[in-house]
Amino acid sequence: MKKPKNEDVSLDMTPMIDVVFQLIIFFVVTLKMSDDKDTTIKLADGKNGIVLTQEELPPSQLTIDVSRSGRVSLCNITLTDKMLEQKIKERKARYGAEFPCMIRADKNTRHRDVARVMNICAACGVWKLSFVAIQEHKSKQ
């Protein structure tokens, strides 16, 4: 009586393996490993702004990072003013001047550095700009 019972247990491995694979796949899909933004930037609070959702971030959007020291970067790649101008012009040629252009600047960045980015945008004909702020703190810091 005892032996056949043990033999049946071996069949229980299959759902277990299924669960493990499901877990692995779930986490691999949800986990974002690469940092496509400047993580040193500490954003200011903006409770009353429009909440940024995935729908608010179409492929046409451009997020320009400005660090505290004034480093301008896109997807964590430092750009010179000329390169930024070229990037904006490229976007404008593809999507028109109405593409969402967002500036992620540190709360302690001097306005001078932000103004430099804004001037490049305005010179390219992109007047509508957005500033990214934190609506609600979730990460503990």
Partner: protein, 132 residues
């Protein structure tokens, strides 16, 4: 011979459960919740276009941002006072143009705070200028 391998399958479950728990603990520890972000829209007129002079009339609200704080229509105010001023003005009209002038050395956080306050009272006609 093949049958013998199935004889003590119970012992093989333990490492499997261990692995599952290890995986779960690893992912729970490494996963970090992201902040919820918001965006504050504003207009940036083209530099040297002279639109600043053109748009400046009596109906517009002027907010200057310096290194120490904000100046509202020529008077130095705290952020709290700015909030109540904008609340009062928004009660009559939310359509008025708000001209925001920033000093080159002012921190960006002040600008975001002013924009946020304007957004709070549904004033979306915001233009940002820079002072040298």
């Amino acid at each position: 011979m093949a049958r013998k391998e199935y004889d003590n399958p119970k012992a093989e479950m333990t490492p499997m459960i261990d692995v599952v728990f290890q995986l779960m603990i690893f992912f729970i520890v490494t996963i970090k919740q992201e902040d919820i972000f918001s965006k504050l829209n504003a207009n940036r007129p083209a530099p040297n276009s002279g639109s600043e002079q053109k748009e400046e009339n009596d109906t517009s609200i002027k907010i200057d941002i310096g290194t120490e704080g904000v100046v509202f229509n020529g008077r130095g105010v705290s952020f709290k006072e700015l909030d109540s001023h904008l609340k009062r003005l928004s009660a009559s009209s939310t359509q008025s143009i708000v001209l925001i002038r920033c000093a080159a050395n002012s921190p960006h956080g002040f600008l975001v705070r002013v924009l946020d306050t304007c957004n709070k009272y549904k004033m979306y006609n915001l233009s940002i200028f820079s002072m040298d």
